[in-house]
Symmetry: C2
Subunit: 315 residues, 2 copies
């Protein structure tokens, strides 16, 4: 497999950073697994689009399944190029309509085994329009959000504190905006319920200039491990049983519902011929459905919905 | 809860038939459960739309969970009325645009516990436009299709034979047309794979006149038990182990993918404020995902994809 030559030197730098980020994150997860005595290892699966496909490019999937701490932890890097930006990408940039483009990013979802350890999602991406004879125009997207099965205030506060602090140097208003955007995006309309306790989400972002917007995006990616790992370490020893497991599987069903019904990347990707197995890295290893599952008032399971899966100021 | 008065006597008859069909089918499933010594019972959950919601109407969910033969068997009846037909329903009937309407139907998905017993789906529905001062205009839809986890030719042949025979009195060309329509509809484009071995599917159907089209639809509904139950009885005693169970859970993931990504009723229903728990009766009780799950060549698991999940003439 050949690595496609990025269209300009800055893209090469971004690619190198993304590949490094993916490696650092999966190495850290592997270290947690080793610490827990797990035997599962990350599978590293490089792939490349076949010549002639509408999108060209390559990527690397890293996934650990059946671990002691992580039941399924998928982290994908991809870098694709296309001849023409899709119309949805140039609604607000008519001057770039139909320009060649490249898109690259890292996306991950980790599904822990313990119901006390929350599921997490993180994504950072860069899209560059490459209009003929003109400089590349870049914009950025990404964020991270946390989905607990049993709610702990201190976990939500920690996660949001890292999100807030990482954005602070780039502008005071960013965290509240990206926090609201996240709440807005990760909302299951058909359940009128938040996917989790949120985090930050941004899309189509270039307002700090290309260098500034990239720096902000990189800071978000680099902050992921310190936002998430302390929560894993704090919760993974907490004992759980069949009751907690059953509730976790049931709640994972909501994760599936969100991703397949509402997540634009997933839904659009599957409908438009994306790489299915990469897109579905986000699926849980096991998920359950039950009709109008009863939840006892005042129980931790009821508290999750009442106090955590709502829009709420965490910091 | 009050039963809404159907707009005309024929609708009342159709409603009575649908309610009876639902009862006959769930009674038959309950009898299979009793025969197998299972302790699970159908839950009967009548519901009604709250006044002021855009759609008015009511329904009854019947669902058995955790049975000995059926791990989740949901069968819903619903009857809704709206003030204005949605544009999608009147594309081919401009003269009815915006007319009041009613829609009623029975829809079921049964997920057996044994990996050797196939999952099944059946649906029959009637939509009636009720233009002011004019006669009601009705059209029909429905069908049934079978999704095995381990393929048996005789099961597919039996299911398709019943489908063919039930349509034969209504016209020679119907079975081949509805069979192709089913293959077309239950196709997972993102996997390039059929959901199962197919069956029949029809929509927007009125070409036999109102009485003839209703009679055909009723025959399809009434044929369901003889299409499916013999397969259940033939397979349910076959011993299975962890390997077959694991494969069943993995394949059920595809069922989830189809329903949430491609099924128009499900996807549109969830996005447009339908009753979530009724729509998701079709979800399996438990489903699994795994990255590029290996399948040994020549194994029964590989044969499923190669010989059964393809478009094929069964009778």
């Amino acid at each position: 497999m050949t690595t496609p030559t990025p269209a300009d030197p800055q893209a090469a730098e971004v690619r190198a950073w993304l590949e490094g980020l993916q490696r650092r994150i999966t190495d850290a997860v592997a270290a947690v697994e080793a610490e827990a005595g797990g035997a599962a290892r990350f599978v590293v699966d490089p792939w490349a689009k076949a010549p002639g496909e509408p999108l060209q490019g390559d990527g690397v999937t890293r996934i650990l399944e059946g671990g002691a701490v992580f039941e399924r932890a998928g982290c994908g890097f991809s870098h694709v190029r296309g001849a023409r930006l899709p119309p949805s990408a140039t609604q607000h940039r008519p001057e770039l309509a139909g320009a060649p483009f490249e898109a690259m990013g890292v996306s991950l979802v980790f599904h822990p085994r313990s119901p006390y350890v929350p599921t997490v999602h993180m994504n950072v991406r860069m899209i560059a329009a490459l209009p003929a004879g003109r400089a590349a125009v870049r914009w950025f997207g990404g964020g991270m959000d946390l989905t607990p099965y049993y709610g702990f205030e201190e976990d939500a506060v920690h996660f949001h504190t890292v999100c807030r602090d990482v954005l602070a140097p780039f502008g005071e208003g960013l965290y509240p905006r990206f926090k609201d955007w996240c709440d807005e995006y990760f909302h299951l309309k058909h359940r009128d319920e938040q996917r989790g306790v949120g985090g930050i989400f941004f899309d189509d972002f270039s307002e700090l200039g290309q260098a500034g917007s990239l720096a902000m995006t990189q800071s978000v990616g680099d902050a992921f491990l310190r936002a998430y790992l302390p929560i894993v370490q704090r919760r993974r020893h907490q004992a759980w049983g069949e009751r907690e497991r059953e509730f976790q599987l049931y709640r994972r069903g909501r994760y599936v519902e969100f991703n397949l019904v509402w997540d634009r990347g997933t839904h659009f990707g599957l409908q438009s011929g994306g790489r299915t197995e990469s897109i579905l890295l986000s699926m849980p290893p096991l998920a359950a459905w039950a009709y109008r599952r009863p939840v006892e008032e005042g129980s931790p399971e009821a508290e999750l919905t009442r106090r955590f899966l709502v829009r709420r100021a965490w910091v």
